[in-house]
Symmetry: C2
Subunit: 418 residues, 2 copies
């Protein structure tokens, strides 16, 4: 939680955090500012002190909405610094950065730097700042272990409620998609049709998803996976927009929108087969659903997340599928890890691959996905089931938005010929 | 244009470009890959050679859609490197980076690094890479002058058509918003009402904007400015969602969506006063419209963009307004610059502030905004008019999406009492 930051800073011997960039679509800045049109800002937080947001004058109103202590960049005369730097604008920005740090008495010690930014100019500026301030160590942290991902790993109740609300929006859209599909007419060759009689494409479905997400107040910055057949067998294939939708094919529908303005995400997957299922696909589905339920029964408070990755690998291997337990980077079988944290990042701590540490745990307040899957692209099929789960402080695991686990969806206007 | 990159690399003595990050919402990566769900990728382009995209195995299908030469990261055993690095994951990533560069015979020389990424881990990795490869100079470039913004500054015809299409979507949404407003009922106190009789809020209008943009296939990652009265007087204030919409107030409506998936932007502003206008607001509007037209008549092929900033400052100062010509960072009057380039970045070269160089020109193929404005927050008013304009190779300036310049919008169901 945010209140852990000072302790984490002490443990890591960081005297200050500096976050660069916009307030939107920039998790560490959003964590403090709460979104809004604050661009190219800088936030400085000394250990044990409240953060201060530096903003551009034109955005003073937006900066004020953050509720943070704010200061305008115009306190520092960038045009004058630019002159002193002989027109070297990266040097001028580094000089302004130096003046800001000096203002906080940060002339030595360790300063962590964060933020979603264009790397080139930020890197160029930091190289110059390092020469200007040789007694300050500027610290970059590995994504998975950064102090922000550590703090963000556990959620407070208001964060849980925001993610829960995104879950309700997500499943409402999934319900509409399910209705759209099952109410469609079907051509003799088992292709779904739109009302105008032309084939329903993946692109059509995705357009509806975007429309419905917008209507319900969500944003979809990372797109949606809606992939059929062979594409469903490649976990991150998003689906080919011109492909038709056919009965009896596995459809992997993985949807992960966030609050408008770049806030909290939800992550959800169902796999459907319309009208009927190929026996082999049904068998795969049953196995995925079986381990999904075994996991749900076995999640224990504070257990290492990767224990469940191992459990899933062992289960799938016992059924004859490859997994990362005994195969390096498999492309068939169980090819990813069992889940990840969800918050301001769609993927955040805790992680669950076999290589991560035991500190990635089902700690109280963590929000994770559970998403077993099986993939056989050459057979034209893939299966994944995914829910977002809150590890409650009382030790219960709560799915934040319930949705049925039907695999075969009966078509309202189509019946299988006997 | 993209074909300029090799020449630019030669001029800057860069042996290679490396782009990090996702394909979406990452202009330099999008420039090559064209979007799609390719995440945490790396693109390497040696001078004079075609770029190569390194991707994560799960996204092989998405990577292939780029049409680029691709290679999977799994060619390099990150788990083994992690072991060699004693679990230091930034060092392991730096070692993989080193192996990739060595594969391209890049063991000395100058390598530019780009991409929209989380700074902390990328910076931490680069610090380690610099020690691993002391003979390579890793170059960060100032945003405004980066080789990508230089190349992107001029657009080819396919880029122009994409931006034009975004202009059509943008103005279609503006038309719908205009109709929504002018068809509204009006309460006795001049507040607009929704069909259910409750006041129409800025939040309501923004929800409609999001819905209509989604319906027409656009994305709106940076939000919309729809601000009234005092907020309209602060250029980047986005408007307060709970505020009511009233007659006779200046409404600054600045909308800047992009293609779905993080592609090309459009940028457009109109200022409206519903039903009637305050005389002082009308006077300001007339002045802004006058200089808007003077600029349109005076834009010359290859002229420095900032010449038009000077012309605008001089015009407004002659009318008694402050501007950056003689006031440092004014908060009243004409408080920003006259325009900027538009493309994969909402703000890109050429820029027009008085401090930029003459190389920011109206070169053939450039796409710019022209957006004069006047701001008086304490008087509760602000005015801006903005179009996106293509500087055609034949020297004509073409507005990419036409829209009327009415200031006072008559209300269909309301008449001013005599």
């Amino acid at each position: 939680m945010k209140s852990d930051l000072d302790t984490l800073m002490q443990v890591r011997n960081l005297d200050a955090l500096v976050v660069l960039g916009n307030a939107e679509h920039n998790p560490p800045m959003y964590y403090f500012v709460g979104g809004g049109h604050v661009s190219d800002a800088m936030l400085v937080k000394k250990r044990g002190e409240a953060p201060i947001l530096f903003y551009n004058d034109m955005e003073r109103g937006e900066a004020a909405k953050s509720g943070l202590k704010t200061r305008p960049f115009s306190e520092f005369d960038l045009a004058e610094l630019q002159k002193q730097a002989n027109g070297d604008s990266l040097l001028a920005l580094a000089m302004r950065f130096q003046k800001i740090l000096e203002d906080f008495d940060l002339t030595r010690g360790r300063v962590g730097i964060y933020g979603q930014v264009e790397f080139s100019s930020a890197f160029g500026m930091m190289v110059k700042l390092k020469s200007l301030m040789p007694h300050v160590e500027f610290v970059g942290e590995a994504g998975m272990d950064s102090i922000f991902l550590m703090a963000m790993e556990t959620k407070d109740e208001s964060e849980v409620e925001r993610i829960r609300k995104m879950g309700k929006i997500t499943t409402a859209v999934v319900r509409r998609v399910q209705n759209l599909l099952t109410n469609s007419d079907v051509r003799a060759d088992e292709v779904l049709l739109k009302e105008d009689g032309s084939p329903l494409t993946i692109g059509d479905v995705k357009s509806k998803i975007e429309l419905w997400l917008a209507e319900l107040g969500a944003e979809n910055p990372e797109g949606t996976i809606f992939s059929i057949g062979r594409d469903a067998g490649v976990p991150h294939s998003t689906g080919n927009p011109t492909d038709f939708i056919r009965l009896g094919q596995t459809i992997v529908f993985d949807i992960f929108p966030c609050e408008r303005g770049g806030g909290y995400f939800y992550d959800f997957t169902r796999t459907w087969s319309l009208g009927y299922a190929m026996p082999e696909a049904q068998e795969l589905y049953d196995q995925v659903y079986e381990i999904y339920n075994q996991l749900a029964d076995n999640f224990d408070l504070n257990a290492p997340f990767k224990d469940y990755q191992r459990m899933t690998c062992e289960y799938f291997e016992s059924k004859g599928h490859a997994s990362s337990l005994n195969t390096k980077a498999p492309l068939n079988g169980y090819v990813h890890s069992i889940g990840h944290g969800v918050g301001l990042n769609i993927h955040e701590r805790p992680f669950s691959s076999l290589t991560v540490g035991d500190d990635h745990r089902l700690a109280p307040g963590v929000i994770i996905t559970s998403e077993p899957g099986l993939y056989y692209p050459e057979k034209g099929m893939g299966i994944r089931i995914e829910d977002t789960i809150w590890v409650r402080p009382d030790g219960k695991m709560e799915i934040l938005a319930e949705y049925p686990y039907d695999f075969v969806l009966p078509m309202k206007k189509w019946k299988k010929k006997k």
